[in-house]
């Protein structure tokens, strides 16, 4: 039954492709997004459908390298490659694409992408602890609101934004409940299943239905019979974003007999504790607060990520931590030093891997992961 439910999530992408096409035919607008920093609430409040476009497949990278440098992060190359080859239907259907200046690579890639689609780039501050940064981010949210109103020819009211805030808050809560199931021993959901659910969610055109499905999954797992404790090592994955197509580290780890019980990355737990505060008067300010709190390595300082990792290691009874950096992602690569310190202080093995979307390093990844798991076995 659990397998079937997860399978239902796996088919979300396909089903919603048809729905989005139908919705487009009736005049609804689609807005493509790349990153968890994008305030989806504004898109929902504009009556449009937000869809995730973040590239997680190696397939279009060769085409992207005709324009972009080879020594660039695979996520950027994949995202651009899908756009330039017109092989991602969700990009194809997007009326507007929203990007953020999360890193130099994305910032400059979005300039080139404007030749293919209208792209709106939000300037994300580098610091998250100054008033000037916060004010800039509030302005950027207001600028996005204006652009959406112009581009989609709508009026976005505060009332609609608050409604959308409620929807996204509920969605996050439901997804968090699914991730939290894996605090149990044995973990009821495999890492690949968890990824399938979390990643597929970004393609849904109907948030209400998605929230019901997420809650249904939690309920179903609750009804399952409790099995006995499992001695397999419990691994936490952190670092760069992972999606279906770039899940090789999760797959290898589970093939080697361990459980990936938790993921602290942006398709995982990173944003799930963050709820938009609904007590204030200005929904834009409330959204700015929530989004600026996201513990991405592009922010400085990024102490909340280390606190989050620290508590996740305890809550999910983690035995070892894998920190995955995609090639040329400097901020995650450098922050690995701090993450390593936190993990080692807790007496756990810490494995930092640098890789790309290709399969060329499967064997060398495997020997490293295997050696780390051997460190856990007594």
């Amino acid at each position: 039954m659990l397998k079937e439910l997860v399978q239902k999530f796996a088919s979300v992408r396909e089903i919603n492709l048809m729905r989005i096409k139908e919705a487009k035919d009736t005049g609804r607008k689609v807005v493509g997004i790349y990153c968890t920093y994008c305030p989806q609430e504004l898109i929902l409040a504009a009556g449009a459908i937000p869809v995730g476009l973040c590239g997680t497949s190696e397939a279009p990278i060769a085409a992207a390298e005709e324009t972009l440098p080879r020594n660039l992060c695979p996520l950027i190359k994949s995202s651009y490659g899908f756009a330039v080859t017109d092989t991602c239907p969700f990009f194809h259907f997007s009326d507007l694409v929203i990007g953020e200046t999360t890193c130099d690579g994305k910032k400059k890639m979005f300039e080139i992408m404007q030749d293919i689609k209208p792209v709106h780039v939000m300037q994300l501050p580098h610091l998250n602890n100054t008033q000037a940064s916060f004010d800039l981010w509030v302005d950027e949210l207001r600028r996005l609101k204006l652009r959406l109103e112009e581009e989609l020819n709508v009026q976005i009211t505060d009332e609609e934004i608050w409604k959308a805030v409620d929807v996204i808050n509920r969605e996050k809560k439901a997804l968090k409940a699914i991730f939290d199931l894996n605090r149990a021993d044995p973990p009821p959901i495999s890492g690949i299943e968890l990824l399938t659910v979390a990643w597929s969610r970004s393609f849904s055109s109907n948030k209400g239905e998605m929230i019901d499905n997420l809650n249904g999954l939690v309920k179903e797992v609750g009804l399952q019979e409790k099995t006995i404790s499992d001695p397999a090592p419990r691994v936490l994955l952190t670092g760069c974003p992972v999606g279906l197509g770039s899940e090789k580290v999760i797959r290898l780890t589970e093939e080697l007999g361990a459980h990936v019980v938790a993921m602290e990355n942006c398709s995982g737990y990173k944003t799930l504790d963050l709820q938009t505060d609904t007590a204030g008067n200005d929904p834009i300010v409330a959204l700015a607060e929530k989004y600026l709190a996201i513990p991405c390595s592009c922010m400085s300082p990024n102490s909340y990520r280390l606190e989050l990792l620290n508590s996740m290691i305890d809550d999910f009874r983690v035995d070892a931590v894998i920190d995955l950096t995609w090639q040329a992602c400097h901020t995650y690569n450098i922050e690995a030093y701090e993450v390593g310190k936190v993990v080692k202080q807790k007496g756990l093995p810490y494995l930092h891997l640098e890789s790309d979307y290709s399969n060329s390093d499967l064997e060398s990844l495997k020997v490293r992961i295997e050696a780390m798991l051997e460190m856990v076995e007594k």
């Binding site: 080692k344 093995p349 810490y350 640098e354 060329s360 390093d361 064997e363 060398s364 020997v367 490293r368 295997e370 050696a371 051997e374 460190m375």
Partner: protein, 253 residues
């Protein structure tokens, strides 16, 4: 309990059989078939020890070829096997530097061969036996001759880490009339630097052991000691460290 440990490396396949306090060892070139090399080692070990195949309780296999070998009762990583092997030979060692044919690694160990941390070089021949093999060919030597042919006093530093570029660099140095001894010392320095950087990143704790096929090369040992600033221990059986670890685990010692 009788156990066999086999380390199927990219260049050589090493094996050790343990029967109580008796040990026999054998080595063959891996060639193109890790499976055949593993089988050849088992045959040689049984021959040498006079033990029958069915008397052997466990065969544990490590090294890059471990996954291709169906007769393995268990496969273990090189990291754990080197740690176990060194714990037997030199229990005081806390850092292992292993340079093999296609990779190099640094392993920090605690008591009884417990692995505390490790690092491996990435996707590149720099700082491996392969690097030295290519350079030896360019110099018209066998890789085994490099150690005795170096002249550290006339060390010519090689600036390229990349195997392909370093090869053109030494061809250039030879063309300008430089002699081989200084070039070889420079090559050893280059390997030592590369591996020492990896070791320092993880933190070096004495004593330090140097294992793997490249440890036979006294020039690399010298360069490594200079770069990390302390003495390194090389066992006469340095190439067999991984196989020894696997054999000890297989015979549950």
């Amino acid at each position: 309990m009788i156990g066999i440990g086999i380390d199927i490396g990219s260049v050589a396949t090493k094996g050790i059989i343990i029967n109580g306090d008796k040990q026999c060892r054998a080595m063959v070139p891996t060639g193109w078939s890790p499976r055949d090399a593993g089988q050849a080692i088992i045959d040689q070990l049984l021959d040498l020890s006079g033990i029958e195949r069915q008397e052997v309780e466990h065969i544990f296999v490590t090294g890059y070829g471990r996954v291709a070998f169906e007769q393995a009762d268990k496969t273990i990583t090189e990291i754990k096997c080197h740690a176990r092997g060194i714990a037997e030979l030199y229990p005081e060692v806390r850092t292992i530097i292993d340079i093999g044919g296609q990779d190099s690694k640094v392993i920090r160990v605690g008591e009884e061969g417990r692995v505390l941390d490790f690092a491996m070089n990435d996707k590149c021949a720099a700082g491996t036996g392969r690097f030295l093999q290519v350079m030896a060919t360019a110099l018209g030597l066998d890789v085994s001759e490099l150690g005795q042919s170096e002249e550290p006093a006339r060390n010519l530093s090689i600036s390229s880490m990349c195997t392909v570029f370093a090869e053109s660099e030494i061809i250039g140095l030879l063309a300008r009339g430089n002699d081989k001894g200084g070039i070889i010392a420079g090559l050893h320095q280059s390997v030592g630097k590369r591996v020492a950087a990896m070791a320092r990143r993880m933190g070096i704790k004495e004593q330090v052991a140097f294992t793997g096929g490249v440890a036979i090369n006294l020039g690399v040992k010298r360069a490594l000691e200079e770069e990390i600033g302390c003495m390194v221990i090389v066992s006469e059986a340095c190439q067999y460290t991984g196989a020894l670890g696997a054999a000890l685990l297989a015979s549950q010692l």
